[in-house]
Symmetry: C2
Subunit: 280 residues, 2 copies
């Protein structure tokens, strides 16, 4: 794979890596149409993506055999930012047996009667498992913040509770990768319009999407704040320029692949007892 | 897709369709090396499989949008029969978001303290979901029967309890597809031997596999009995000749595709309120 990508992924100073504590970070300064992980050619990007998906599949097999780690990939982003499409593309070659997904919706009545991390605990990867959260516990510092259901004090408390929770996950073997899919307002308008103009896609559209779109700036502020407050050494945030779907997929696939490679995964050693054994 | 396959899939008299109540059925008389769903040419079979996987993916999208049904695909078979490989092949094109899997292991201490269907209830598809069970509640009429942990009376009771449970699932919108992957003893020997001879595959091999292999005939009898006792109109068993991996995949993909097509799935009708709406 292109060395260029690897080195870019590693440089903490890149504007898409949210520094610990958010020092000097501004979401508004990350261009949504940038393509830092692109080869510069769309066909080459697609070929690269195909290779990356195969690598991720091969690494999943060793990840499962190795059993030392758990993987949690967490995707956030405004409506139409491409969370579903990312999952399909990055894990294109991975068997449904090898990766689990959970799409978080508005909490149920029972879930609301518990602390906001209660339901998350029930959907975590076990040893050797890869799990993707489509939306996440970060919804609990987005909607309630923008709609002012919770105070600034409670919001700050939740940031800390999230950091404590993710530290615990990290300390107990979970690799936590957090991606914020960053699209521009114009791009979202086009994607929402497409869901309206194609009658077979109407069912994907909800009136609520328009209400949330009207709060665009407030959501961008809430994202900026949570990114700064919850980017940690053990669970850093990466902001993914996502106006280009191909770039978004290449970037996330590269970062997932790089992280898996960095774990130095290995198959369990051959069992000496099995050497030369003949099945009858 | 080849009409030949469709019609074969529909004929109840085919030896791989276990008749309701098992009347006249004998597992031993279903050849493990038959290829009833093959085109007769391996390359054509692979191309067919690729098409089928794309069809299953397209149907999954409508299945989800439609929301009227739930799908439970259940795979049973001796060790190395190819359950993992089937899942990978049939759902090759389906996003991890569209299909969930659960691999059943020996019950935990907590699970053993409950009735044997308790844990199954916790892993069922909801409306619009597709779920695959890798092994299933049928393990509870296999190991305990062969090892004589339960009496013939309890076994018969479990058959009835399973039928009642699956009838309830069917009546509440779940399409239940049950496949028994049927391999021969020689084929299993080769596949187990491969896990021993390839040191990177040793971790997939367990000493227990040899013990179970020694009980081959007893397992075949237990399978024969459960197939006869639990093939119902609402949840029929299909025995899949599985010595050939390609044939196995083509057959199951065909039957899954055919069943989904028969549901006459449809996208929700266009929303008149959205007609002409412009997003700003």
């Amino acid at each position: 794979m292109a060395k260029k990508n690897d080195s870019k992924a590693d440089t903490g100073a890149a504007p898409w890596n949210v520094p610990v504590g958010g020092k000097g970070f501004s979401l508004a300064r990350v261009p949504t149409n940038a393509k830092p992980f692109s080869t510069g050619d769309k066909d080459k990007d697609k070929a690269l993506l195909a290779d990356l998906a195969k690598e991720v599949d091969a690494l999943q097999d060793i990840f499962w055999a190795d059993q030392r780690f758990k993987l949690l990939v967490l995707l956030q982003g405004m409506d139409t930012a491409g969370k579903d499409g990312t999952i399909r593309a990055v894990f294109k070659e991975t068997s449904p047996l090898g990766v689990r997904t959970h799409a978080w919706k508005a909490p149920t009545e029972l879930e609301r009667r518990h602390n906001f991390l209660w339901r998350i605990q029930q959907q975590l990867p076990a040893s050797g498992e890869m799990m993707i959260h489509n939306r996440s516990h970060y919804e609990d510092v987005l909607v309630p913040v923008v709609d002012e259901y919770i105070s600034a004090k409670t919001t700050a408390q939740r940031y800390r509770q999230i950091n404590d929770f993710e530290r615990m996950l990290s300390e107990t073997g979970t690799v936590v990768l957090k991606f914020m899919l960053h699209i521009g307002s114009d791009e979202q308008r086009e994607r929402l319009q497409a869901r309206i103009d194609d009658p077979t896609k109407n069912w994907k559209f909800s009136e609520g999407d328009i209400a949330v779109r009207k709060q665009w700036d407030a959501y961008q502020r809430a994202y900026n704040d949570l990114l700064c407050a919850t980017s940690t050494e053990y669970a850093p945030w990466v902001v993914v320029p996502a106006d280009s779907k191909t770039h978004r997929n290449v970037m996330i696939a590269t970062l997932v692949r790089d992280k898996l490679q960095s774990l130095k995964l290995r198959y369990p050693p051959p069992d000496p007892a099995l050497k030369g054994l003949k099945i009858v």
